[in-house]
Amino acid sequence: MKYISLLLFILTLAKTPLLADQKPWGIIEKSKKASQSLNYKGIYISQNGPELKSVEITHALHGSEQFTRINLLDGQADEVLSHGKNVVIYHRQDNNVVIQKREQHHLFPAIFSGDISEIKKYYLLSFGASQRVAGRMTQIVNLTPKDSLRYAYSFWLDQETSLPLKMIISNIEKKILEQSTFNKIQFNTVTNLDWFTPTLDPLDKYLIEDSITKEINLNRFWRANNIPPGFKEVNFMVSKMAGINLVGNHSVYSDGLSYISLFVQPVRKGQKPQVGDLSFNATNVSARYYKGYQIMAVGSVPLKAVRNLIDSVEF
């Protein structure tokens, strides 16, 4: 009986193109490559806590360059256009369109856009069932954290292309914190770049967002001694604080899937520094007041991770 089960299992593997001839983690590599190299257009629903939004995404690879356009279909008609690492947001605010530049994004389904080598060390990969999503057969792949400092991720990878068609982030109690799922997707219908343009009314006013936030190679005066294992600093920014001639520091850490922001900001006169912990939706925040500075960590990670991080900041 045992051997029949094993035989059936092997036959199942052979039948499923995704798993055939795959080393397990190769699936993640393939998924990353799919999100970067495929031409597709679809609509997915994104849920973060009680908020549900429909999003239309168009993605194409032209030569070696990626072009992505994301339109929010609910609420304000905001857009994201990205070309390689250049990302521009068009956000409607009052009667103006705010144009804001960002450095990069890792928006669903391009979740694995960063370095995934650390993921292997800190997550266990396992396979779930096959399920149908957006009219296509998918394979469930689970990434379960090996410690209590990160959340669990489940991906429904398209069996033909390996593109993530659904993603769920859940905590240790298996409560769903965040999810995104395609309800419609088409491949290879994108044949030109005419769609790669913002749909803005030229009579609108445009405001170029004026923050001077940027990665600067400055000697920082503080250090964090207890960065969660597997998390590396992926960005460091110095930003001018609103209305005063002081700068705040913002470090971003990632293990390839999860992200934590650490802020070290001087407390302005008249401002009350905040301390304590806070959770909302998939996000946890921990704050501390230290030597005149507000230290705050924010991340889609368990509270323990952000709390340990801010407690370890010293200067």
Partner: protein, 229 residues
């Protein structure tokens, strides 16, 4: 799955060909150099160049002050209104179409701002003659901006006036004559060239050199007065 070949028809990020069709018609061509200069500074401001707007501020803030001093008595209030007016003008700069001169448009904003200010304070505006906006160029009277009349500031002002006068007196004759004809009599370069029997380029050069010499003498005094470095 092999990706299909992409035919790139437009620039990445922006389909500028489509957008150009929808662009608002360009501002009408002005008829005099001053208006042309202001026009270009406005257009640059509309493209996000705050430096261009700062030139307009430098050019017109004193004139606006003088105009508004006919409506508002208090000097510091006038300064606040002038500042508010320029901020409003900057926020509305994309609405400026060039149908009128920039300073005409600015002064309308200034007058409305002053009126609103006075109404908010429960005050009635000083009686203002029926000054047509188009006559603003000829508007002469009104307060000058004062640097808070302390003994020190009065002395500083006198030193600055003395420095300018003395420097002009020490200039070579041709430079002195050129700067006087320009600043006192308000003659154009062409008219000065005719009077001085020299090319316009020479007039330009003489006026510039005169200004340079005077500015050199003024710098230490202005620095002390305003920290303008």
């Amino acid at each position: 799955m092999q990706p299909l070949k992409i035919v790139q028809k437009s620039n990445p990020m922006y389909n500028t060909a489509i957008m150009e069709k929808k662009v608002i018609p360009p501002i009408q061509k002005p008829v005099n150099p001053e208006r042309a200069i202001d026009q270009i500074l406005v257009e640059k401001s509309q493209k996000g160049d705050k430096k261009a707007f700062s030139i307009l501020v430098e050019k017109y803030h004193k004139k606006l002050f003088r105009l508004l001093s006919r409506m508002v008595r208090d000097q510091s209030e006038i300064e606040d209104i002038v500042q508010d007016s320029f901020i409003k003008a900057y926020r509305a700069i994309n609405n400026f179409r060039g149908d009128s001169a920039f300073y005409t448009w600015l002064y309308r904003i200034g007058i409305n701002t002053a009126k609103n200010h006075l109404v908010a304070l429960g005050k009635r505006p000083k009686a203002m003659d029926e000054v047509e906006i188009e006559d603003i160029e000829n508007f002469e009277s009104g307060y000058e901006m004062r640097n808070h009349d302390t003994p020190e500031s009065i002395m500083m002002n006198q030193e600055i006036v003395a420095a300018v006068s003395e420097t002009i007196e020490t200039l070579p004759e041709e430079l002195k004559e050129a700067i006087a004809l320009r600043e006192m009599d308000g003659l154009s370069y062409e008219e000065i060239a005719e009077i001085m029997q020299c090319p316009i380029g020479t007039v330009r050069s003489r006026i510039f050199r005169a200004r340079e010499a005077i500015a050199e003498k003024l710098k230490p005094l202005i620095e002390e007065s305003n920290n303008r470095w």
